[in-house]
Symmetry: C2
Subunit: 205 residues, 2 copies
């Protein structure tokens, strides 16, 4: 967009909004003009919610998940299986797994994935905290599920963590890979289909 903004204030707001991922300058202008039409109190409420998130957010001391307390509601829940730790990249992954209702263990949030292209190395993640957490546990009775994405960066991160924690004697597992429910064989990529055949399971009708 080559238009010149009629106001520096508007331009600054559009620049700020378009710094968000996936928001172009055209959408940013639309959002800025929307905010301009709102009562000031609503805009202040909007910016305050964002400032408070940034300023006052805390992380669970066990699993490093975003939390309002020193320990998150999952880690402080006695009914969860604290001997099973699911390692995920982000809070969103926790929310996705929780939404399935299938998992009763606890989590460990890495805060990202090892990605040299984006300048994210192992020390930027909470891998050290995971190791320290496991060292305090009875590792023979502990399972760590590496629930990272199936791309190269996810696999690299899984392998790195495996090397760090397997000496501790924990059982390390990973998510099942295979065809999704409803997937069509014809459109599955050959890597996924290959894994599905190798890891085939007994048919239980």
């Amino acid at each position: 967009m080559n238009e010149k903004y009629p106001s520096k204030l508007l331009e600054n707001a559009v620049d700020a909004i378009s710094s968000l991922p996936g928001v172009g300058s055209r959408s940013a202008l639309r959002l800025a003009l929307h905010l301009l039409k709102q009562p000031k109190e609503n805009v202040h409420h909007f910016t305050q919610a964002i400032n408070m998130l940034s300023d006052e957010v805390r992380y669970c001391r066990e699993c490093m998940m975003v939390s309002d307390e020193d320990m998150c509601s999952i880690c402080s829940d006695d009914r969860r299986d604290h001997g099973t730790i699911c390692v995920v990249g982000s809070v969103r992954d926790v929310m996705s797994i929780e939404a399935t209702g299938q998992y009763k263990g606890v989590y460990h949030v890495l805060g990202g994935i090892i990605s040299p292209i984006n300048g994210i190395g192992p020390s930027d993640l909470t891998i050290r905290q995971l190791v320290e957490r496991l060292q305090k546990m009875d590792c023979d009775d502990t399972e760590v599920i590496l629930a990272l994405s199936g791309d190269v960066e996810g696999e690299t991160t899984s392998f790195y963590i495996y090397r760090q924690i397997s000496p501790l004697g924990v059982r390390v597992s990973t998510l099942a890979r295979g065809l999704g429910f409803g997937d069509d064989l014809e459109y599955a990529d050959s890597l996924t289909l290959g894994r599905s055949i190798i890891n085939r399971q007994i048919f239980k009708p």
Copy 2:
């Protein structure tokens, strides 16, 4: 999305962000987690730009456009034709017309379109200011171009304004409607195609 947010702060931020038009709760969560990863200074810079737009914005006293000054750069430009006033719905329309480089007159920004469904009546727009502006001018030498959208609400608004300003003796025109450059006859709607035939022009190769 049925996931429960692990933190009230996060939930508040997601709620605030998803109040923006066209941003669902899933995108809002993605944006909130993005902001959470940014340094606090960047987040404050982001929210400050939005607060300043809302708190300190001013409108040109001539054309009602967003402006940092008492009079906008277009209205204070002597090289523009001040006898031609293009009436548009929003600042975005000004920017679109300016981007064509074809228009040398000035503008009047209504701040919306008459839309009973959205509770926007004539008194919510700057129609009164337009009438007052014209009353101070030599109306015999003035042209008002109604550059509103071609839908029912735009047409209604155009008609309402026409009734208000035509007694003043100004010439009132409207944007040419017809096939766009590159448009295919086959896919043009019949209303547009019909207008294109009625308003056909001498072929000048």
